[in-house]
Symmetry: D2
Subunit: 399 residues, 4 copies
């Protein structure tokens, strides 16, 4: 029951591919994680918070610089809207990062108070579809592949609207939109259990997202946000299922104890993150041939943002290392023998292995600091931005 | 905001059909509800509990006699296995009821300790498929349309087995089985959140059941058991969605406060039952053209069984009456105006209407007792079976 | 199993008191329900939203005028802070309402980012205690009896702070504060499962609130907010228990499907509201001798506020009427006989009785409109305030 | 952020005591874990399952022999009832283990169908109290300190019984019983969220257990079963609170994903187990001066029982080692600075440390096998009991 010595050890992926390794890991950062966020009770600002998308990119570039794990940054429109996207793309290149997924916003305009793509009002749907078409146009300039759609659509009171008719309206909106998705673009539909709608949500579960995207076509896939499930949901099962069905488009990583808490990924239930990543590796979601995008979607309500993002990508890396360590042959043998405790033991061995020393070595081999967090904190960056970024309006959700 | 006076008032179903009415309502009873059931802590027997399937049918016939609502009885194989199914069918006819859905059992044979249709062991799957083929054969004799499959398959510990491979195994088993389903038969796949498996369940949610049955063909549909969801799940949304997708095969009605409590339908959250039935009516799941089967699946752990079933079918009837009362025109108008409180008010008006007097009248018009529960309790049937059914082994789950 | 004809029928309260009746019902309105509220995603403003506490009181007075149910209004400091509280009290009197509970606020000042009364920083606790002493001083002027304390205190990450030490700090703060609570004042401690803290909350459950207030003295009691529990919690049990222990100080009524959704009371699970009110009546929480304060605490995110509050107090009244209708003698007899279905039937009979006609009559006898909602909507008040209240800053949470 | 090298490192307990160390750890085994158990769907027997309490003790002694962690065994009456308890005590001594907590059973006798200590029927309460008095008498012979009371009492349907009156009845029963608890004995009251009762449970939460035991006296304390909470409950908070209040009597360790799954402790959420043990150490619940009893309460439905128990005690030991490793000085410093990520980092460092090599060394120093599981499996014990224990009736819950 001893575990292999190196986290780089190849693991059994799908048969005809090079096995995934740690070098395949790339985690996309959300631009909005560098802005202020909070709860309905309070948003706490912090010194040095970016005022512009350019400053968000600069912060994100720090995460990549110290970890080598975060080569791209997701944008949120209109929060990150600029006049010159080609210029923004060059700016990102200069910082050493790329522009990634474009996220639409249908939860803040007055028009969308009662719904957007799922509204039964054709005029509202028109505005919502047009917003997404604008996002597709932006993607053409930024070179982004994925249009990610998370909808706040839903109702607060039974009877407030017709659940079934809204589902049809949503299908219609998505079809119109999908017709404009380019050959090298994807429509990624995210589901969420609840919030901000408190009675019904129009895309509440993976089943709904799956049914909607299969009605569209092959370039429509599902985004799994790890905080968007009912209590007790076995998330790794959904990961395995969506990979099996060929519809897992991306992850929004974060963690939660209660609802959509948006805490740092791996902070609430590290073992769950391990199980999820085991299924990602198992199902071919990492490495050659995979087009699953791994992203963060978190709020740093009370902790510093740049270190919060560094901690997050390191957590994903550490757990991926453990998942890659899993002795799949021993596991398969124990499973075949119905040796419940034996199989579980092999599984836990990988989880309990302390991969931090091996990862420090891995980093040093690649010219990265052995301890990215310590190196970043010692760099003085936080003090510098606190001093430099004076005046203006700190970025936030604008809620 | 006044509600219509009669529960028979037509409600808006699908446009090209006669609207559903109360007379369309038929609820199938589970034979096992008349046997003993309980928890892992204790199964409490009660006097008069049936020893044979014939006695179960006799009890079920009482429910129909006093309510006019329960014309058929679902069987569970092997609990209700007999040598002569044609004879059993005639026996049921004589009692005034028909034989309905056949339920398979893959959770008690030693062979199935680690899974049945989803087992990765081909020999185990062979036994499991054969059991279902036997059920199909029985259905031919009983005249049953539906083969209902609820699987206990799953694991208790992370790593115990390969989630993804089991899903593939399940698909393979179902495909082999589906090939034998007759033109006038249906395969109905039930999902369940958890129990008896405590880590992963192979068909845990509607999305999985939907993905599996769509891979089979048109005569494969989903069974929604109202107690088989994660806490907080909006069940009426799933009802609406499955009806929209054309895959809602049947209901297993019951109610719960916590897990799969299997209490009397409507006892825990009557308003939820109302919302579910509103979507059933709205989506064409009742009345002409509908092939959705409404069944009970409950345990009467501490209450009398025959009255427990009477209470259950009356609860479904009362809530269906309220759902039919819903003033859909007023609702649509308020919804179109985004009048949240107005629309919710129309919805609640139907729920808060006391339909019991109108239902008493409806019964008397049809030669049924105005108060079925009182009439049954006055009949002396419970005392009679307690006296008659002495000796033998009371039916139960045989766990 | 027939239910009594009138909702005014006396119900069995505690033996030596006049039984509670509908006339005993008085529901306190929260001033903040008339301001804007929302989620972290968006706060939707609405025309006519009050800019001042005086305008909030005017709106609240409308609720009382049309229902006769809401004679007092709770204040929130500093949201409702004014220079002249005696003047505010007179203003309220002129409007026909009184000033009620004073609610403190420890979740918005920068000082309280990491805690307030439960902070381990003595300087922070000093500020927090002083804020509450200021509230006590205000109460002396407004004539309020209750100081309600809901704490946002908690942490987001395991290890962030010392759970045990914070509990001791909280006890110390409360003791210092309680020493200043007047003989005719009460300290009311509210608990909440989670939010805005996402790992641990310092007063997360009734047990903690109970342990803290019993350490203080007799004038320290617990506030039960119906939306502040873990999924599946049996709230009426807690009501019964706190009444039994003599520590139920007040309710914050609202309803929820998921978390602290703050929907209209009775909108999500009317039967739960019924069960709660049955225990209130049963335990002497209504009527002569009771000092339990019934308050609303809700957010009208998408619906109109004044009608939202009217709907809420009517819901509480309708359910109280049903609770008073419960045939407690028949219930007791069935319970004594272990007649599970009989007892449950008596219970449901009260719930299913349509009390609306009787309540309309009750209102007319008291010179109130039979249909308060219709009368209010016809009054033109909403249009008037939308026209009059132009300019200024609409009241909200200021988050 | 480096963690100390040895798991034996002293940790900050309460100031005036020797700090707890790994040598203080002793975990009591439940005799019933060696018998068959399962769900309402099926109980799977296994070869070699004990037929008698003597055989259960023999199995338990194996766990202690290989781990050095499990010196005592809890009994369950009447499952483990014998004629000669002094003889049983000697038998245990001969096997190298002691007899521990005595658990009563009020969930299987026909008398207790509707309740036991909380029944409103005085005759039923009489039987229930007498059963507990019998347990106290047994404890005098076995030398046990603790009488553990878990009650299945509750109801399945709203209205079935009077929640408040049952609470009073329970208080009365406990008072009568407590009067007979010896000076060196304790009454330990366990709470449970739900099951087997599905509407209300008479001791559903720690608040109720706490209120009931404080009404009794100092030798009445609370048992915390880690599987007996609502979804999302912060269990370590309750641990800290009960320790603070001086009422944490014992633990029933197990783990769960959904309900009271009774899986192996640490198998479902290892990080939660870590957090719990951090609070145990922090609050003085381990080591000198502590009288908190650490017990297992689990079901090995599909895995081998003796290895299941070995795995369990090792899991508790490994997590205790991590909890002892926590650098409390660094943690306190980071907490005092409101350094959220720093404090969380110190906390996680202890959790992520692989303590297995150090524990292997610790065992070898004490003459125990470095790998207890491998040593036990190699011993041939399982094959031996499978061969020897033929005939008779395997022990189980007798449900």
């Amino acid at each position: 029951m001893t575990a292999p010595a190196s986290p780089d050890l190849p693991a059994a992926g799908l048969p005809d591919r090079r096995p995934a390794t740690l070098d395949d890991l790339a985690i996309e950062l959300p631009s909005w994680a560098f802005g202020n966020s909070g709860t309905r009770f309070r948003v706490w600002p912090s010194p040095g918070t970016p005022r512009t998308v350019q400053e968000k990119l600069a912060d994100a570039a720090q995460v990549h610089r110290y970890t080598g794990l975060a080569p791209t940054v997701a944008l949120h429109i209109p929060w990150d809207a600029v006049e010159d996207y080609a210029g923004l793309r060059r700016h990102a290149d200069d910082l050493g990062v790329g522009l990634g997924t474009v996220n639409s916003n249908t939860f803040q305009a007055e028009t969308f108070k009662f719904g957007s793509l799922a509204s039964r009002d054709a005029a509202v749907r028109r505005v919502a579809v047009d917003h997404h078409l604008e996002c597709l146009a932006i993607m053409a300039e930024t070179g982004s592949r994925d249009l990610k759609i998370w909808l706040a659509d839903g109702t607060n009171y039974p009877g407030q609207d017709d659940i079934r008719a809204r589902q049809d309206a949503l299908a219609e909106s998505l079809a119109e939109l999908y017709a404009q998705v380019g050959d090298d673009q994807r429509l990624v539909l995210e589901y969420k259990f609840f919030e901000p709608a408190f009675y019904h949500t129009d895309v509440p579960d993976w089943g709904t997202a799956y049914a909607q995207v299969t009605a569209l076509g092959e370039r429509a896939v599902v985004c799994l946000d790890t905080g968007h499930h009912a209590p007790g949901t076995n998330i790794e099962f959904i990961v395995a299922q969506l990979l099996r069905l060929g519809r897992l488009g991306s992850f929004d990583f974060n963690s939660r104890f209660y609802a959509d808490d948006d805490l740092i990924v791996g902070a609430a239930d590290p073992f769950q993150l391990f199980r999820i990543l085991v299924e990602v590796v198992r199902g071919g979601g990492l490495g050659p041939g995979s087009d699953v995008a791994l992203m963060l979607d978190q709020c740093h309500n009370v902790e510093d943002k740049v270190p919060g993002q560094i901690r997050s990508v390191l957590n994903v890396q550490e757990m991926t290392a453990r998942a890659l360590l899993l002795d799949r042959e021993a596991l398969a043998a124990a499973q075949a023998a119905n040796d419940v405790l034996g199989a579980h033991g092999v599984f836990m061995d990988a989880f309990y292995t302390d991969v931090r020393p091996a990862l420090a070595a891995w980093r040093e081999e690649r010219g990265l600091p052995a301890d990215p967090m310590a190196a970043f904190l010692a760099s003085g960056y936080l003090a510098r931005i606190a001093e430099d970024r004076v005046g203006g309006t700190q970025a936030g959700w604008g809620a």
